[in-house]
Amino acid sequence: MAEVVLARVDARMIHGAVVSTWVPNTQANVLFAIDDETYKDDFKCMIMKNCALNIRSEVYSVEKLIEVWNSGKLRNRKVLVVFKSIEMAYKAFKLGFQFEALQLGYIIPDEKKTIQVDDRKAILVSPEDIEMLKEMKDSNINVYMQYSPQFVPVAYTKYEL
């Protein structure tokens, strides 16, 4: 049975810092970057995959992730899943993709994502994000914040505005 060794939200997805720290740290042997928009853009997918020198990687939409996961082809792979956004992680969760914990790593701030929940300013969320995280936490997913392995994981404790 394939195993999710890490589910992380990181807007940079397949990125030098993710590949060079979390891959060895988790001993993952395949990396899936999940974003519905990026998946539609072959050129962006190619750029992303080009960054992962030490691991097989794929860029998938949420639906494709679930299709591949349910296909049984992953056998006993150790899978590192990087979602581009909380929204993508939430969509996967709602469609039945199972993960025990969700690590919040890096989020691109925008006009809606302005609520800072960590002290490194790497994680800014919107009111909608807070609702989605709350629902996942209520389903016993351990949501925590950790920028990179050298930092201590910090429990996500923001439940309401």
Partner: protein, 136 residues
């Protein structure tokens, strides 16, 4: 004239220019952009675009970044289809010196890029091996 754009996590690109200042002087038509953890990636992309547009007088821009797969590299990769740029990873001092020398001789972007790749690699030398000294 080909422009130079140096992109890095932290101050590497600024530091390389400071080293240039000691040895060959600061090359003209050269810009640096640095990225800190708290910076917004989407603003970084805009900064890169603006710097390229400023530097490109029609001859194009050679972009040098610290590492393959990092944000500076990834953000700039996305511009390869729309901007007249060449993008090199593994920026080091020999690379900058090569770019400077090659441009001074009036070469075009492709020639400068190829020259930079060669000299950036050749600039990495184990001195002990080169001197045929046994390790202690």
């Amino acid at each position: 004239m080909v422009g130079f754009l140096l992109l890095s996590h932290g101050d590497l690109s600024k530091g390389i220019l400071s080293t240039c200042d000691c040895i060959i002087g600061i090359p003209e038509k050269t810009k640096t952009i640095t990225l800190a953890i708290e910076d917004n990636i989407s603003q970084f992309e805009t900064q890169i675009k603006e710097a390229i547009d400023e530097l490109d007088d029609g001859d194009g821009v050679l972009v040098m970044v610290d590492v393959l797969g990092g944000t500076p590299c990834n953000q700039c990769s996305a511009l390869l289809k729309e901007k007249k740029i060449e993008l090199l990873t593994g920026m080091n001092f020999p690379m900058i010196v090569a770019a400077y020398e090659c441009r001074m001789q009036g070469n075009d972007l492709q020639t400068i890029k190829n020259y930079c790749v060669k000299w950036a690699k050749e600039g990495i030398v184990s001195v002990r091996e080169k001197l045929h000294l046994e390790s202690l």
